[in-house]
C-alpha cells in the first residue's frame, strides 16, 4: 500500500527527514512513535502534500504511484486521509456544507456521481451517531468553538465518511481525556479493514492500548531507528526514548 524509501524532506530549507524508510501493507496498522522534534508531524504533512514540506530525496510510492507528484486534493481523492493534530477552524463554512463539498469533490475526481444533500445528511448522521457527534455540531461553522475532543471526533467522522485506503492519524490522542480517547479509538478500530492501512503517529504509548498496532516504528532525528511488534511500545513507555535510541545506535 505504502512504500517510503530513503525519504529526505526539508521545511523552510531545514532538513527534517533524513533517509526514512517504511513499508505499510494493506490491512495493517503501524504506529510511529518518537520524541518531540523527531519529524513525526513533518512525515504526516509530507504524506498529505502540504506546501512548504519539500521532498528532496527518496520516494513515496502509494498503490504503485508516486505520491509526491500529486496535489493534496488528488491524494485525498485517491484515498489518502490525514487526521490532523490541530484541525483548522473555518468561520463561515458550516460543518455539514464542508463535509458535503469534500465528499463530492473526492467522488467527482474519481468519476463518481455526486451524493445529493439528503444522501449526505443520511450518511453523516449515521457516522455521527456512532461517534457521539451531536447534530447541532454539524450546523456550526467548521471546528469553530469546538472543544479539543469535538475536533478530534470530527476528524474521525471524516475518516468514516471518506473511507480512505490509507489513514494517517497525527497525534490523535493529544488533548483527549480518557473517555474521548476510548470513543475515538473505537471509531478508528471500527474502520480497520483488509483493504485499508493505517499509520498512527503518537508520542505516547497510551493510544496504542486502544488501537493495537501490528508494527511499531521508532522515529528519531528524521529516521526510523528501531522497529518491532506492539511490545516495542510498552518497552518505550518503560525505558523512555533515550535508552531505545541509544541501544539502536
Amino acid at each position: 500500500m505504502l512504500e517510503i524509501k530513503n525519504l529526505h524532506a526539508t521545511v523552510d530549507g531545514k532538513e527534517i527527514l533524513k533517509g526514512l524508510t517504511l513499508s505499510v501493507g494493506a490491512g495493517e496498522v503501524h504506529a510511529i512513535m518518537g520524541p518531540n522534534g523527531s519529524g513525526k508531524s513533518t512525515l504526516s504533512y509530507v504524506l498529505a502534500g502540504r506546501a512548504g514540506y519539500e521532498v528532496t530525496g527518496g520516494s513515496i510510492i502509494y498503490k504503485g504511484e508516486d505520491l509526491t507528484a500529486m496535489s493534496p486534493d488528488q491524494r485525498a481523492a485517491k484515498g489518502v486521509f490525514l487526521a490532523m493534530q490541530y484541525p483548522v477552524e473555518i468561520p463561515g463554512v458550516t460543518t455539514l456544507t464542508f463535509l458535503k463539498t469534500a465528499l463530492n469533490a473526492q467522488r467527482r475526481a474519481r468519476g463518481e456521481k455526486d451524493v445529493d444533500a439528503v444522501g449526505v445528511l443520511r450518511l453523516v448522521r449515521e457516522k455521527a451517531k456512532a461517534l457521539n457527534v451531536p447534530e447541532e455540531m454539524l450546523k456550526r461553522a467548521l471546528n469553530v468553538g469546538f472543544s479539543g475532543g469535538e475536533k478530534k471526533r470530527l476528524e474521525i467522522l471524516q475518516m468514516a465518511l471518506f473511507q480512505p485506503a490509507l489513514a494517517i492519524l497525527d497525534e490523535t490522542d493529544s488533548g483527549l481525556d480518557i473517555d474521548a480517547l476510548k470513543l475515538v479509538a473505537e471509531g478508528v478500530n471500527a474502520l480497520r479493514a483488509p483493504d485499508r492501512a493505517m499509520l498512527v503517529i503518537t508520542h505516547y504509548q497510551r493510544l496504542l492500548n486502544y488501537i493495537v498496532p501490528d508494527r511499531v516504528h521508532v522515529l528519531a532525528k528524521g529516521r526510523i531507528v528501531a522497529e518491532g511488534g506492539k511490545e516495542l511500545a510498552l518497552k518505550l513507555e518503560a525505558q523512555g526514548y533515550e535508552q531505545i535510541i541509544k541501544d539502536a545506535a
Binding site: 486534493d73 473555518i90 463561515g92
Partner: protein
C-alpha cells in the same frame, strides 16, 4: 464649478476623482435618467417636489443638486407597506427623494446601469417608527460614479441598507446618516468583490439622540489592481446617551497589486455610550486552504469556499430572501472571476 475632489483632500485620499475623469465631462454632463422597474403597495411615484429636504452631503452632491433638473420622488404614506425598484438608466447628474412616512415600511431596491459618468444625490427621510430596507446593486463597470445619500431617521425609525458594489473605474458611495430621534437605528452592510476595479464606501453616522443604534459591516475582496476603500465616521453627539455603535470593516487581499484601505473613526461627545470598531486586512489563510485541499477539495474550489465564507456574513445581512439570493449569485460569479 470648483475643482474636482482629489487625493489631496483628506476625504478623497483613496478616490482621486480629478485623476479619474475630465472636469469638462463633469461640467457638461446632462441630467441622469431613472426608471421605476417595479413597485408594489401604496408607493406614490412622482417628480421631485419644488421644495426639497436637504441633509448633510459630501462635496460632489453640491454639483449634483445644482445641475440635475429632475428626478424621481418615491413616497410611502403613513402606516403603508410597499416596495419599489429603481434603475438608474442613464448617467449624468441626478437627484432623488425617498420618503417613508411615520409607521410605514418600504423595501427599496436600486440597480445601477449608468453609462460612463454618474453623480447622484439622494435625500432619504424615514419617519417615526417607519422602516426602510434598501439594497443597492452596482454591477462591475468602467464608469466613474459618485452616489451620495443623506438619510434622516426619526424616533423609532429603522434604515437598513446593503451596498453590493462590484466596482468601477471609480465608484464612491457616501452615506450621511442622522439618527435624529430616540431609538432610531441604522444597520449598514456591504460587499465589494473587486477585480481590477475601485469601490469606496464613505459613511458618516451621527447619533444625534439617545438610545440610538448603528451597526456597520463591510467586506472587500480585492484582486488584480483593485482598490477597496471604507471610511466610516461615527459621531455620538452630546446628550445622545445610551447610544450603541458598532463598525466592522474587513478586507481580503488576493494580489500584491491590489489595495484595501479601511479607516473607521469615532467621535464621542456623550457619556454612557457603547462604541466598538475593528478593521483588518489579510490574505487567504494558507492553513485553511491546505485543510480543505487535504479533504479532496481542489484548490480553486477551496479558495472560492474561503472567499465566500469571508464575505458571507455581510451578504446575509440582507433580510429579503429573493434579493439576498440574487446578490449571492452576483457575488459567486465575481468570486469565480477572482480565482
Amino acid at each position: 464649478m470648483n475643482a474636482l475632489p482629489n487625493r489631496r483632500v483628506e476625504d478623497w485620499k483613496y478616490s482621486d476623482l480629478r485623476n479619474a475623469i475630465d472636469a469638462e465631462v463633469v461640467a457638461s454632463a446632462p441630467t441622469a435618467a431613472w426608471a421605476i422597474a417595479s413597485s408594489a403597495g401604496a408607493v406614490d411615484i412622482a417628480d421631485l417636489p419644488a421644495i426639497m429636504p436637504r441633509g448633510e452631503h459630501g462635496a460632489m452632491a453640491e454639483t449634483a443638486i445644482a445641475s440635475a433638473k429632475a428626478g424621481p420622488s418615491v413616497r410611502l404614506g403613513k402606516n403603508e407597506r410597499g416596495a419599489a425598484h429603481l434603475h438608474l438608466t442613464e448617467g449624468g447628474h441626478g437627484r432623488a427623494l425617498i420618503v417613508v412616512e411615520d409607521g410605514a415600511s418600504l423595501a427599496l431596491q436600486e440597480t445601477v446601469l449608468a453609462g460612463s459618468f454618474a453623480n447622484v444625490a439622494v435625500e432619504i427621510v424615514v419617519g417615526r417608527n417607519a422602516r426602510l430596507t434598501h439594497v443597492r446593486h452596482a454591477p462591475r463597470n468602467d464608469a466613474v460614479q459618485v452616489i451620495d445619500y443623506s438619510v434622516r431617521v426619526a424616533e423609532g425609525g429603522v434604515y437598513r441598507a446593503h451596498f453590493a458594489d462590484f466596482g468601477g473605474k471609480l465608484s464612491r458611495t457616501e452615506l450621511h446618516i442622522a439618527l435624529d430621534g430616540e431609538g432610531a437605528q441604522t444597520h449598514l452592510s456591504g460587499v465589494g468583490p473587486l477585480n481590477d476595479r475601485h469601490a469606496d464606501v464613505t459613511t458618516h453616522v451621527t447619533h444625534a439622540s439617545g438610545k440610538t443604534q448603528s451597526t456597520q459591516l463591510f467586506k472587500y475582496v480585492a484582486g488584480g489592481t483593485a482598490r477597496g476603500v471604507y471610511q466610516g465616521k461615527v459621531t455620538v453627539a452630546a446628550g445622545a446617551n445610551g447610544s450603541d455603535s458598532r463598525q466592522t470593516a474587513k478586507g481580503l487581499l488576493l494580489a500584491d497589486s491590489a489595495e484595501i484601505d479601511l479607516k473607521p473613526e469615532l467621535e464621542i461627545l456623550a457619556d454612557d455610550v457603547k462604541c466598538a470598531h475593528g478593521a483588518a486586512v489579510g490574505d487567504l489563510d494558507a492553513e485553511s486552504l491546505f485543510y480543505l485541499r487535504s479533504r479532496g477539495i481542489p484548490e480553486n474550489e477551496a479558495r472560492a469556499l474561503l472567499m465566500r465564507a469571508f464575505i458571507g456574513d455581510a451578504v446575509d445581512e440582507i433580510e429579503d430572501e429573493a434579493v439576498r439570493a440574487s446578490i449571492w449569485q452576483a457575488v459567486d460569479a465575481a468570486l469565480e472571476g477572482l480565482l
